[in-house]
């Protein structure tokens, strides 16, 4: 028995590498969009939101994933953006 394997992080196994690579490639297969396209969306989102709040651009994470549609449970692509807010801007202009 490989004793050290017990304590090694599971994420390092080759199957997890495969899974992550597969998930990434399927995002693009399913939605037909490229990483460049995502970068464009990201840029535009930053532009819009920056009017209202100060955000941490480095921590911004945007990805296309899948979610279950509420009324029939079918799987659909979803755009998920995680945007850390530094502080709100004064909205009275």
């Amino acid at each position: 028995m490989d004793f050290f394997k017990l304590f090694s992080r599971e994420s390092g196994t080759s199957k997890n590498v495969a899974k992550e690579r597969l998930k990434l490639v399927l995002v693009h297969d399913r939605t037909n969009c490229s990483p460049d396209f995502l970068e464009m969306i990201k840029g535009d989102i930053i532009k819009v939101i920056s009017d209202y709040m100060e955000i941490d651009e480095g921590g911004l994470d945007i990805k296309i994933t899948r979610t279950k549609r509420e009324f029939d449970d079918s799987t659909i692509p979803a755009l998920v953006a995680n945007i850390p807010i530094k502080k709100m801007k004064d909205r009275v202009r």
């Binding site: 028995m1 394997k5 017990l6 599971e10 196994t13 080759s14 199957k15 997890n16 495969a18 899974k19 690579r21 597969l22 998930k23 490639v25 399927l26 297969d29 399913r30 899948r66 799987t75």
Partner: protein, 265 residues
Amino acid sequence: MAQVIVITSGKGGVGKTTTTANLGTGLAQLGHKVVVVDADIGLRNLDVVMGLENRIVYDVVDVVEGVCRLKQALIKDKRYEGLFLLPAAQTRDKNAVTPEQMQSLTNDLKEMFDFVLIDCPAGIEQGFRNAIAGADKAIVVTTPEISAVRDADRIIGLLEAAELTDPVLIINRIRIEMVKKGDMMNIEDMIDILAIDLIGVVPDDEAIVISTNKGEPVVTDNNSLAGQAYRNITRRLTGEDVPFINMESDAGLMAKLKKIFSFGK
């Protein structure tokens, strides 16, 4: 009411033909009237996997072109009374048949059989469209490799676009010892990614190679694991609720260790 089931995968070499031969034979073992149709025109192989290659006179293209009657092209299996093969043409290509012709062909076969299994060619072009044209249900075969799962995902999308909703999944050639080591995607990983229902898992088994060499589907071999897996899938196809072979033993060393400790208490 007869069922028309297409066995498809997108990627080649994952075991569509072997699966078709085994499910067809398995259903015939249970006493059903079954026809297996080779839709891989130009690259036929279902005949050799079934061990019926020496009996072919007419093929599916002859039938749709009216060269012969449907019954003349059907080849009776060696072992099972209710099992027949409709072979593909070898010297033609996928364009020799249209989806409409396939649809009317499967309608005719439905009148004569309980199950019509269609062995789909690899790819997403004309051959695929022909194979799915008359199907009511689809089985997607994949193996635990990135390329096969990716293609399966694409096929699932195309099936749904063609209104063949709720396809079911067969995971073929899984190697438990590699799954245990974390070097092969496990069943859960693949179901999670593809988001369709599982109908069976077939282990990688040398018995498949041997049985294919002989032209005798492995489902007839009572001593092989793969044969057992195919028999289970066959029963699930007929609506029976057959539990999956417990793969929990591959839950990893931690689970095993826990088991040992809890046993010691």
